[in-house]
């Protein structure tokens, strides 16, 4: 067995969670703090554990029959089960993903995948939550939609990142990167964002080995930004969408 990307023995998730909760002794905390200081991989895991996570309400009243009923619905192929699964996913506000390479038929021309400047494959997946429904590879946006970003990049790398939204030649930065991210398959980036405007927008994820300089992005076109990460395009939703 091997550990990857860590400077030594990784700090287990259990210890990271207890560290976050303040349940460890001062000595243990010092050891972990020193490790985190030197190990970007474990630092990324700690960061992951510190992200807020929507917790569904705990059903204690009549819990047995209610839970069993829910579990049956969740396990079965019924419409109610499907609705419940979607509702759960919506409450969690997180990260249902679809396999890369299965575009919807009405997908706009896009550059979802690009070749990073470091030569590895980079892919950007946007996940939209609209009225409690989670959708992958949505092509339209509305003001009330909430968006999450999933990043796929070569494993065993730590990458700094920033999300750039280009609308009419103007760039905006809806997320606030605090740290580098450990690459992997569809890694959720911290934070969520909304999109506004009437025209199409280009959403680009820029990756770099150093913190991204927002003033030094260069040309704000899809080709240039795709060279530094990956981009996709979205259009404003029509009333019928």
């Amino acid at each position: 067995m091997t550990s990857h990307g860590c400077t030594g023995e990784p700090i287990s998730w259990l210890r990271l969670e207890r560290y976050r909760l303040g349940e460890l002794s001062a000595g243990e905390r010092d050891v972990i703090a020193a490790h985190i200081e030197a190990c970007t991989v474990c630092a990324a895991c700690l960061y992951e554990s510190e992200r807020s996570l929507a917790l569904p309400p705990l059903s204690l009243g009549g819990q047995d029959s209610r839970l069993s009923h829910m579990r049956r619905l969740l396990a079965g192929p019924t419409p109610a089960g499907a609705f419940l699964r979607l509702a759960f996913a919506g409450v969690a506000l997180l990260l249902l993903v679809r396999p890369i390479g299965k575009p919807t038929k009405d997908e706009l021309p896009s550059h979802r995948t690009g070749l990073g400047s470091k030569g590895g494959n980079v892919a950007l997946d946007l996940v939209r939550e609209r009225n409690g429904m989670v959708e992958h590879d949505a092509t339209t946006f509305a003001p009330d939609d909430r968006w999450k970003v999933l990043l796929t990049c070569p494993t065993e790398r730590m990458m700094f990142w920033d999300l750039v939204v280009v609308d009419g030649g103007q760039a905006s930065f809806p997320l606030s990167p605090q740290a580098a991210v450990a690459c992997g398959n569809r890694v959720p980036l911290p934070g969520a964002f909304r999109l506004f405007g009437a025209g199409p927008v280009t959403v680009c994820l820029v990756l770099a080995s150093e913190p991204v300089d927002r003033n030094g992005l260069g040309p704000l076109d899809v080709t240039s930004l795709s060279d530094r990460g990956a981009c996709t395009q979205l259009r404003s939703a029509e009333p019928s969408d």
């Binding site: 067995m1 991989v41 917790l55 759960f88 996913a89 890694v187 959720p188």
Partner: protein
């Protein structure tokens, strides 16, 4: 009873996110992870137990997840709808192979309950052998033996060899 429920609610608020993350790493399903964590707390309330610490709950969720994946219907659904992003960064690999949901299910089929727990603790939760020993209440040597068995089965599955044949 009301006080016990309130304490359980407090426990749930305090430890629920950590346990959800843990169940998601293993099951790669947000919905199934919520179901498992809820069922653990519901059972605690039914038993009148509150004030459990995180290691105890961590083990309870592990056991519940293993029971969950042994059900054929759950297993089929997990494989069809797995959400790899929920796994998060993988720091411990088995001979350079990531043990994902599919491989984990196959390995679990060939392991006893205690060794299956060790598989989860080591490759999904990144626990050290000392931490696993403390959690399972056994010696480090026992954990080492269980881990060797996990690795042996994993290598057989990865290499396509049957360990029962010479």
């Amino acid at each position: 009873m009301e006080n016990a429920n309130n304490r359980s609610m407090d426990d749930y608020q305090r430890y629920g996110p950590a346990l959800l993350r843990k169940a998601r790493r293993m099951l790669a399903s947000a919905a199934d992870a919520e179901d498992v964590v809820q069922s653990v707390f519901v059972e605690l309330v039914q038993r009148g137990r509150s004030g459990a610490d995180l290691p105890y709950l961590f083990r309870a969720v592990t056991t519940r997840c293993l029971n969950h994946v042994r059900d054929a219907g759950n297993r089929r659904r997990l494989l069809e709808r797995q959400e790899p992003a929920l796994r998060g960064p993988v720091r411990i690999k088995c001979d350079d192979e990531v043990i994902g949901t599919d491989l984990m299910l196959k390995i679990v089929d060939r392991l006893d309950t205690d060794s299956a727990e060790v598989l989860v603790y080591r490759y999904f939760d990144d626990l050290t052998q000392d931490e696993i020993a403390e959690l399972q209440g056994v010696s480090r040597k026992t954990v080492g033996a269980r881990l060797a068995r996990v690795r042996e089965v994993g290598l057989v599955l990865l290499g396509g060899h049957d360990e029962r044949k010479p």
